[in-house]
């Protein structure tokens, strides 16, 4: 009986001493934890589960059309960050973009840029791989309001330099999009795709005319089945 009491008395003392000698896990920036001087690390960034979820869905992307609206409207809540090196940045970049080469994203002065809650930071480079990597690194560091330009600069310029022409059967929105993209191209100082004729363009035009003759023959062949169709239609009317 007495032995049990002694054992039970030793347990809490040993446990609390063990607790005191456990290694410090604190890399927390939480002021309240520091005030309570607790050892355990409280990770303030995104949890692994959420990071995985965020990395498989498309919410982190900003579409080129959205970004174009931001650029034209000069929206002050967006901060464009060019992740390429200074040489490429000097050659051309998006209007209003600042240059932070991706080797330097974790330096202290740049941390202040990303840390600001006031901006939506849009990361871009030529493609999407580098901005995605930077997005992952910064997201792990607990930074919010990060966007990645979908398709990168290459696709951005491709879209406004040579917007895909809508088909005649496309809905009205497709035409509106097309003229919007042309307007954006004009705003960015890109040549108008309708007026722009590349070298050898005349040959291309004559080619299309030459090939255009062939379809004229084909309808003549198809004309015969057309007679059959009305008959079927009559039968269908009776059934009704």
């Amino acid at each position: 009986m007495k032995k049990r009491y002694i054992f039970l008395a030793i347990v809490p003392i040993v446990l609390s001493i063990v607790l005191s000698f456990l290694p410090d896990k604190s890399n927390s920036i939480d002021a309240k934890r520091n005030q309570k001087s607790l050892k355990s690390a409280k990770y303030t960034g995104v949890t692994p589960n959420n990071l995985l979820l965020e990395s498989v869905n498309d919410n982190r992307f900003i579409q080129p059309d959205e970004l174009a609206k931001v650029i034209i409207g000069q929206d002050p809540s967006y901060l464009l960050v060019d992740l390429r090196d200074a040489v490429q940045y000097e050659k051309f970049t998006l209007p209003g973009a600042i240059n932070i080469p991706y080797e330097k994203i974790l330096t202290e002065e740049n941390q202040a840029v990303f840390d600001s809650e006031a901006y939506n930071v849009v990361l871009f480079s030529n493609g999407t791989i580098v901005p995605d990597q930077v997005w992952m690194i910064l997201r792990r560091a607990g930074i919010k309001n990060l966007k990645v330009l979908n398709g990168g600069l290459n696709q951005f310029y491709q879209l406004y330099l040579n917007p895909p022409k809508p088909l005649e059967t496309d809905p009205k929105e497709a035409f509106e999009n097309y003229s919007y993209r042309k307007a954006v191209g004009a705003h960015l100082g890109l040549p108008n795709p309708d007026e722009f004729i590349p070298k050898g363009g005349e040959n291309l035009k004559s080619n299309t005319i030459a090939t255009g003759l062939k379809p004229v023959v084909k309808p003549a062949v198809k004309a015969a089945p057309k007679v059959v169709v009305p008959k079927k239609a009559e039968g269908g009317d009776e059934g009704c």
Binding site: S20, K36, S40, N49
Partner: protein, 195 residues
């Protein structure tokens, strides 16, 4: 209550866990004999120190357990909030509570346990609690200034004296063991009471 194991249990589970914990608490109170006012007031007369032992054990078990769980990241101790430390109002309130305890033979939790096993004095004590709450609420404007005086805010002992909470727990555990031993000696000297 802070979120317990937030990755596994959602916030909605908190209330269910609280109910289960509460039932376990009531069960332990009853099984340690705390529904008997003779056993409860024994601590004041020196023939039974079960109250002191149970509550001291509960305090050190809970603090060591919480610190370990915080260390493993199962619970966020920084998210736990206590009542603000109002020094003098707590001293006065503690005295009133102690007098009620020694005359009534229950503390608020144990009177519910006594009701649970159908004791009449438990019902009477509970009626007294309700009456006391009513009187206090009605007369609150009279005490209000004193009630809010000497407020140190939401602060714990290690925070206030700026000591390491882990060594503080070691200290409390040692004090608890010494108290257990001392009460054992006192109990041996006092004539045992049949109850």
């Amino acid at each position: 209550m802070g979120p317990l194991i937030p990755e596994i249990l959602s916030d909605q589970w908190n209330n269910i866990i609280a109910i289960i914990t509460g039932m376990a608490f009531g069960f332990v109170l009853e099984s340690s004999g705390f529904s008997s006012s003779r056993k409860l007031v024994g601590v004041f007369y020196g023939y039974d120190f079960a109250v002191l032992r149970v509550f001291f054990t509960a305090a050190i078990t809970a603090s060591i357990g919480l610190l370990f769980m915080d260390y493993f990241g199962w619970i966020d101790m920084a998210a736990l909030d206590g009542l603000p430390a109002r020094v003098w109002p707590i001293v006065v309130g503690g005295l009133i509570m102690g007098m009620g305890f020694v005359t009534g033979g229950f503390c608020p939790g144990t009177c519910i346990t006594a009701i649970g096993i159908g004791k009449l004095d438990g019902y009477v004590f509970f009626g007294g609690i309700i009456l006391g709450v009513f009187v206090f609420s009605e007369m609150f404007p009279l005490f209000e200034n004193f009630y809010n005086s000497s407020n140190l805010g939401d602060v714990t002992v290690p925070e206030y004296f700026n000591i390491n909470p882990y060594w503080f727990t070691v200290g409390i555990s040692i004090i608890a063991i010494i108290a257990f031993y001392a009460t054992m000696l006192i109990r041996k000297r006092i004539k045992s009471v049949e109850y």
